[in-house]
């Protein structure tokens, strides 16, 4: 088990007004993502609980790319990982951001 936390500053807040969303499931190769609009509009925090150790640099890269793409200002995102591949994490984060923009 490993816990990772990444904090980013964004150039803008995420659009929309949805206060909370959840997507995905904690299953093997999948992940659950909880998104909450509770931070300052220019900050984003992503906390990850993963059963697989040693992939911190990949998580860091996936999260940084997501922040650059989605500009999720204001969100605290909690990830409950079930050993998902990076592409699944990336897709799930983008889907979560879209749900919050609704």
């Amino acid at each position: 088990m490993e816990t990772l936390t990444f904090r980013h500053t964004t150039t803008k807040p995420l659009g929309g007004t949805t206060s909370q969303a959840i997507t995905g499931v904690v299953a093997s190769g999948n992940l659950e993502v909880l998104l909450e609009r509770i931070l300052a509009p220019d900050s984003c925090e992503i906390a990850i609980e993963t059963p697989i150790n040693g992939f911190g640099d990949v998580w860091e890269a996936v999260v940084a790319d997501f922040v650059a793409r989605a500009q999720p200002g204001g969100l605290r995102i909690s990830i409950n990982d079930g050993g998902a591949r990076p592409d699944t994490v990336s897709l799930r984060l983008l889907q979560g951001a879209r749900l919050m923009e609704a």
Partner: protein
């Protein structure tokens, strides 16, 4: 005086020797399954070239068991020339010393064992061919002395009904029977009159009534229940970014979940994009169960098949406007013709692979698996002999041409690799160096077993985006375009970010958002069928899935 008929005399002697083991009735072609070993030991000679029909799907398994039970003191040093190494017996004959040399195309299920035997020197390898290439050599320098083939039924004269899985049989028989070879067919049953004559009886010397029906490998069934959102996202990108943009109507799909997902998105996502009738109308394709919803929704005009697929026979019978069928109503497949169709008549090949390097070369060979090629290198290559235009082919040609007289421009076939950046167990698809090169060195191959050469590849689609290699103007751009869709593999993370963004601004690298693809749409609800049971429903109960795919 020169004897010009030595081969004919040899053939006559072999047939006379074989006749001793027939049941003696009406010409003596029929041999009981119990006498197979005796028949083979009578007909075969050491050093013979033998085609033991192992196709992509259909297997002459009764004859394979017979051959592996022959006495190596009598039958040895055979040179096996067959497209598929599929059954354990296909390799047992090498362990037992019955066979020595091998020329083949595809070894999917035996890929692990064949790699061990190649490393161990138990097999003297001629070459790993493409199907068309091996078939071509049957007529030039690898003509079989004896062909051991499989059919559904035969009459006592040897007229053969191959059933829907005709596959390689007409090609193998053509090369053997017309060049003084001996043809032995196993059939599931001997009948008074065959439903249709796929192989005329005067090309078949012996008929063995097999102890059980021949084995068919269900190779092209992909369970929609196992499709992931990543595969759906990739399928959406391929449809919108490639099929729609090039207006691809004539095509071939390889095996894999990515292409199966595309098939299942045509009636949903494709319909929503207004593409019906504009793309994916004419196919060189096995009868994929996942194509059923597109066929039922009126997307598909016609399909020519390499072979059949387990469970699809009744469905095909009821859709003769779409499939090629005989007077008896059942599918007529033919691998040689369909491969030719895939090579010359299709504007696009799209398929998956296990490894892609920085130049776009791809291979399905890893250090512990030698899967062979099958048809991918033929269909996944730009045929320089093509001389007919199509809008798709010409558009690709314009993108590729940078210099020279436009009046002399020729088109390009689209060759698309559809891959996830990581395969099973997080093994990266993108690599600096193909394992195939290591294998070639280790077993002393003169030619590295590359499946599709980089210069034939036009696009690479991953979950991260599409790389259009036609538009790359030098080796560095090509490398960065490939790195730019390689995701979080080491190759992907080793990208020059600024260069990839520059390629993106020129449309060489495109992300889902560049294509206007909504990530929330990448959901299993977009699949026209979400289970094998759904496919059976779409077919109106005509598709009969094999037991291993039934969970109801």
């Amino acid at each position: 005086m020169v004897d010009w008929r030595k081969q004919r005399a040899d053939r006559d002697a072999r047939i006379a020797a074989g006749r001793a083991h027939s049941d003696g009735r009406s010409g003596g072609k029929v041999v009981a399954a119990a006498s197979v070993v005796d028949l083979l030991e009578a007909v075969l000679k050491p050093g013979d070239r033998v085609c033991l029909e192992g196709d992509n799907q259909k297997q002459a398994d009764c004859l394979a068991r017979g051959l592996s039970a022959c006495d190596p003191a009598k039958i040895h040093d055979l040179h096996m020339v067959q497209s598929g190494i599929v059954l354990p017996e296909h390799l047992d004959v090498f362990e037992q010393g019955i066979a020595k040399r091998l020329d083949y195309s595809y070894s999917g299920p035996q890929g692990g064992r064949i790699a061990k035997m190649l490393y161990g020197g138990q097999i003297e390898l001629g070459a790993v061919h493409t199907y068309l290439e091996l078939f071509a050599r049957y007529f030039v320098d690898l003509t079989p002395n004896v062909a051991l083939i499989a059919g559904v039924s035969a009459d006592r004269d040897g007229n053969l009904y191959t059933g829907p899985n005709t596959e390689d049989t007409p090609t193998v028989v053509e090369a053997t029977a017309f060049k003084n070879g001996v043809v032995i067919a196993q059939v599931n049953e001997i009948v008074e009159k065959v439903p249709r004559v796929d192989i005329p009886g005067d090309r078949v010397d012996f008929v063995v009534e097999a102890d059980r029906p021949f084995y068919v490998e269900p190779l092209f069934t992909r369970d929609p229940a196992a499709m992931t959102e990543t595969q759906i996202l990739m399928a959406m990108m391929a449809i919108k970014g490639i099929y729609a943009e090039y207006g691809i109507r004539r095509l071939n799909h390889g095996i894999g979940f990515g292409t199966a997902a595309i098939e299942l998105l045509l009636p949903t996502y494709g319909e929503r994009l207004g593409l019906k009738g504009k793309i994916a109308t004419h196919w060189a394709l096995n009868p994929h169960p996942t194509l059923i919803p597109a066929i039922e929704s009126g997307w598909v005009e016609q399909v020519h098949c390499f072979g059949s697929e387990v469970g699809m026979d009744r469905y095909i019978r009821e859709r003769p406007d779409v499939f090629f069928t005989g007077a008896d109503g059942s599918l007529r497949s033919n691998r040689a013709f369909c491969q030719t169709a895939g090579l010359y008549a299709c504007d696009m090949f799209i398929g998956a692979t296990l490894q892609i390097d920085l130049m776009g070369h791809s291979s399905t060979i890893t250090t512990n698996r030698v899967a062979g090629f099958g048809g991918a290198p033929n269909m996944g290559s730009d045929p320089h002999g093509r001389r007919h235009p199509s809008d798709t082919w010409m558009k690709a040609g314009r993108e590729a041409q940078i210099t020279g007289d436009p009046a002399l421009m020729r088109g390009r076939k689209l060759v698309v690799q559809l891959v996830e950046t990581f395969g099973d167990k997080l093994v990266p698809t993108f690599v600096e160096r193909l394992d195939a090169l290591e294998l070639a060195k280790k077993i002393g191959l003169e030619l590295a077993p590359v499946m599709i050469y980089g210069d034939d590849v036009t696009h690479i689609v991953t979950e991260e985006g599409i790389a259009n290699l036609l538009l790359c103007r030098d080796a560095d751009e090509r490398e960065q375009a490939i790195r730019g869709v390689a995701g979080y593999t080491e190759v992907g993370r080793g990208r020059d970010k600024a260069k990839v963004e520059e390629l993106r601004s020129r449309g060489i690298v495109r992300r889902p958002e560049d294509l206007g693809i909504e990530p929330l749409d990448a959901d299993r609800s977009l699949l026209a069928a979400r289970s094998i049971k759904d496919l059976a429903h779409w077919s109106g109960g005509l598709y009969e899935p094999p037991a291993r795919f039934r969970n109801w």
